[in-house]
């Protein structure tokens, strides 16, 4: 019971702190819409490209924004000493990471809902699948992204360094996960890298879901994504140290 209460406590301060930062909240929700509008209206006359690209953009924005939010927030906790202080209470590392995870999951899902509905109803991308199936993919991707953000924040000494991880960890995922060029058409030496990045599987499954496939049809991609999420979650918990 205390475990659940502590997790809820951590989740609520994450949400409360973010909500007090009005500008950040506005950017979290507006920036993806701006990006999606640019892409959507640029490819307005090329529906095949748009239908192929839009799901991947949704997944990519979920990954990038959640990674940045978590990485910077967790680093701030480390730098301000609040993380250390929480860890000298009877709170466990697992409670801490799960509290964070749920806090950012709520934000990511609100963000994803806005992007998804904007993409379908404003940009006009075809969507014939189940919305809930898309959310399953996005939830697993968010867990991956929050865990990656927590893990990476261990190696950064300031916010600037967290941002520097984007070209190293996120950009390769964007270029090699099949957003612009299908993985099969990538040069042979890039294909093995595509196979070991989470965004490849998120894009593939989300694209298929939006094209009308069911969740059981993308179970192998979803399974690999869950595996990534699990491994990164363990790494995130291990990276939080009392000492």
């Amino acid at each position: 019971m205390k475990l659940v209460d502590r997790i809820i406590g951590i989740t609520s301060i994450i949400i409360r702190q973010l909500l007090r930062d009005h500008r950040s909240v506005a950017l979290i929700f507006l920036a993806p819409i701006v990006v999606m509008s640019l892409i959507g209206f640029s490819f307005q006359d090329q529906p095949i490209i748009l239908n192929r690209t839009a799901p991947a953009i949704i997944a990519t924005m979920c990954l990038v924004f959640v990674f940045m939010l978590t990485g910077v927030s967790f680093l701030r906790e480390r730098l301000s000493g609040t993380l250390d202080r929480v860890l000298v209470t009877s709170t466990s590392k697992i409670e801490l990471v799960f509290g964070y995870l749920i806090g950012f999951l709520i934000f990511a899902l609100i963000q994803s809902t806005i992007i998804l509905f904007f993409t379908i109803y404003v940009v006009g991308v075809d969507y014939t699948g189940k919305i809930t199936d898309a959310f399953i993919i996005l939830i697993v991707l968010t867990i991956t992204s929050v865990s990656l953000g927590i893990f990476v924040s261990t190696f950064a000494k300031n916010e600037f360094q967290v941002i520097q991880f984007i070209p190293i960890l996120i950009s390769p995922q964007i270029f090699l996960s099949g957003i612009f060029i299908p993985v099969e058409q990538l040069p042979w030496y890039f294909r093995p890298i595509s196979n070991i990045i989470p965004l490849t599987y998120a894009n593939k499954s989300l694209r298929n879901i939006m094209a009308g496939y069911k969740i059981e049809d993308v179970i192998s991609e979803l399974g690999i994504l869950i595996l990534f999420a699990g491994i990164l979650l363990i790494l995130a918990i291990l990276s939080v140290r009392r000492n």
């Binding site: 502590r6 301060i13 409360r16 702190q17 609040t82 202080r85 209470t89 009877s90």
Partner: protein, 246 residues
């Protein structure tokens, strides 16, 4: 019989090859205010970090209330670090309420009463809805103190708690500490300030990772050796004349 709250036996700690704590032995009785003084870099904060379980000893042992420092023991410890380490975007009440929750006070109504009581204790009643970043340094320290006290721990560990406080606030802090000590709470304080050191029941002087002397503050004074104040004693000890003081 007065029991020991903390027993430190032959404790050593190294950062790599750098020996930071060297064969520390210390017994702290229940309800005692134990001060730890020493120049910068003598290992005071390292010792505190071992007591709160953030560092593990390289050698020797630490027993707090009969067990080694570990997660389940932390509910008995209140810790106020050197840096305030509070959430700047939350208000006073939210900060204290959050840490109370992290210490296992899961009943909402009980927690509400406890948090309000502790806010009164640190004289922040009218500021409870203020966002922390708008508060003065002294007020932030009061919030930090309240966080350390909120779960009514048996042991309080303060790493330089009164740095930057005005004399009035310092007195308020010490009144709180003495009140808690009289009720059986064991308090450990590291400090550079001799005005603080004089309030302690016992004072351990650390140098180069060792505790050279541990005795009541008044025993540091010796008019025959021109040691009229703790500051005189501290300066003599710092320049290496420990035999003149002890």
């Amino acid at each position: 019989m007065i029991e020991n709250s903390i027993i430190i036996n032959s404790l050593s700690f190294s950062y790599g090859k750098n020996l930071t704590l060297d064969d520390i032995n210390l017994e702290i009785k229940k309800g005692c205010i134990q001060g730890i003084i020493g120049s910068n870099g003598t290992g005071k904060s390292t010792l505190i970090n071992i007591l709160v379980g953030r560092l593990k000893p390289s050698k020797g042992s630490v027993h707090i209330l009969g067990s080694s420092p570990e997660v389940k023991l932390l509910k008995n410890i209140g810790f106020m670090p050197q840096k305030n380490s509070i959430y700047e975007n939350l208000n006073v009440y939210e900060n204290i309420d959050f840490f109370a929750r992290m210490q296992g006070l899961s009943n909402k109504n009980h927690r509400k009463i406890t948090v309000k009581k502790i806010i009164d204790t640190v004289h922040l009643k009218n500021m409870s809805k203020e966002i922390v970043y708008k508060l003065s340094g002294g007020m932030k320290q009061r919030v930090s103190l309240a966080i350390a006290l909120v779960h009514q721990p048996k042991i309080l560990i303060f790493d330089e708690p009164t740095v930057g406080l005005d004399p009035e606030l310092r007195r308020t802090f010490w009144n709180n500490f003495k009140n808690l000590s009289s009720k059986g709470t064991t308090i450990i304080i590291t400090t550079h300030t001799m005005d603080d050191a004089i309030h302690c029941d016992k004072l351990a002087y650390m140098k180069s990772g060792k505790i050279l002397i541990n005795q009541p503050p008044e025993k540091f004074l010796d008019t025959n050796k021109n040691i009229y104040s703790l500051e005189d004693a501290f300066i003599k000890l710092s320049v290496g004349k420990s035999n003149e003081v002890s």
